[in-house]
């Protein structure tokens, strides 16, 4: 969502780009973690991305904006056999921590970073057992610099990469829309035709309606696409996300509030 492109746009763009990219390398500057994570986050088709600092190499299996496995390491870089070629899961904290440490170590003394791409053999695009870039940022503590932000802004920034579209409201007024056009239309329909009735009814049945809350309606936009409604104070974020990401969004909410 941060690029303003829909998932389908990004898949189409990458599908066109991949043949030219195959067998070639790109120089990424600056050679830092954000750049590496941004590269993963913009990779939708299943690919093996090989990052090279000149002294160390790291090959990652990536698809659907997620890191699925560390395929190999080379040069000065070493890693436990338990990490190499193991499916990465958001819930496997040991592997997550080892992966985060490896990524940090890899870039310790890097001045240049090149990345080359090759098609991945595994069909991993629909595999939910993988690490999202947002989770990696959390594990690498790259989200820590937002601690001074108000709660809602922290929630918004930390869930941005999970969402295919979002509408931000403050005191009921539109602040911003972003993301996939199709999903934004679905959100606007829900916003204009359903939200007021839903909130009125909830206020009648629930005593907790004034608390910060996150309500997730799984598969409510279409199969595989869920609708999320986050309310914190006078701020509201109504968003669309892929259904496997609802657990991650809930974890962010839990950490933030």
């Amino acid at each position: 969502m941060s690029t303003g492109q829909s998932l389908s746009d990004r898949i189409a763009a990458l599908a066109e780009e991949t043949p030219d990219f195959e067998g070639r390398a790109r120089v990424l500057a600056p050679a830092d973690l954000e750049t590496l994570l941004d590269t993963i986050d913009s990779t939708v088709l299943p690919c093996a991305l090989t990052f090279d600092t000149g002294t160390a190499q790291l090959t990652l299996e990536v698809a659907g904006r997620r890191l699925h496995a560390v395929k190999s390491v080379g040069g000065d870089l070493t890693a436990s056999d338990r990490l190499i070629d193991q499916p990465l899961s958001m819930d496997d904290e040991i592997l997550r921590a080892a992966t985060a440490k490896l990524l940090k170590t890899f870039l310790d003394d890097a001045t240049t970073l090149t990345v080359s791409i090759s098609p991945a053999a595994a069909d991993v695009l629909d595999d939910a057992e993988s690490l999202s870039v947002a989770t990696l940022r959390e594990d690498l503590d790259l989200g820590a610099n937002d601690s001074a932000l108000p709660v809602f802004e922290r929630f918004q920034s930390r869930t941005e990469t999970y969402m295919t579209a979002a509408i931000h409201l403050r005191d009921g007024n539109l602040v911003q829309t972003s993301g996939s056009v199709a999903h934004t239309v679905s959100l606007k329909i829900a916003l204009t035709t359903q939200l007021a009735a839903f909130r009125d009814a909830r206020n009648k049945v629930s005593k907790s309606h004034s608390e910060p809350s996150l309500t997730i309606f799984a598969d409510a936009i279409e199969s595989g696409i869920s609708l999320c409604l986050a309310t914190i104070g006078s701020e509201m974020l109504i968003s669309a996300c892929t259904t496997p990401d609802i657990s991650a969004i809930n974890k962010v909410f839990r950490r933030i509030v």
Binding site: S186, A190, F198, I216, E222, L229, R254
Partner: protein, 117 residues
């Protein structure tokens, strides 16, 4: 649905403190397990909120399609509502701790409600 099936779910997930099986169409809680001292009014509120969030009789409350699962997270509690696949007005209503393994719990709750048919 037997209370023992709900109790098994709670035994499997100690972060879940209450599971109720309800007909959200009529707003009636049929059986529950976990907090034995929960007042009837609290169960009624839980059922009403589940009906509102999941949507009754195939009519979605939010979005285009009735959701099979809905989650409401608050600071100290997560409510999980799981609709039966074959009986759209039958649902499991669960009250959990925020740290619950949500993915694992959803899988087990789905097996509990659909496996009981």
């Amino acid at each position: 649905m037997q209370a023992a099936e709900l109790e098994r779910l709670i035994e499997q997930f100690p972060d879940c403190s209450l599971v109720a099986y309800a007909d959200i169409g009529t707003g009636i809680t049929l059986v529950s397990a976990g907090q034995s001292d929960i007042p009837r009014e609290a169960l009624d509120e839980l059922c009403a909120e589940a009906a509102l969030t999941l949507g009754k009789s195939g009519v979605p409350s939010m979005g285009a399609t009735p959701c099979p699962v809905a989650i409401k997270a608050l600071e100290k509690t997560v409510f999980v509502y799981v609709r039966a696949t074959d009986e759209p007005d039958d649902a499991l209503l669960c009250m959990c701790q925020p740290d619950i393994d949500l993915e694992g719990f959803l899988t087990a709750a789905r097996a509990t409600i659909d496996g009981s048919k």
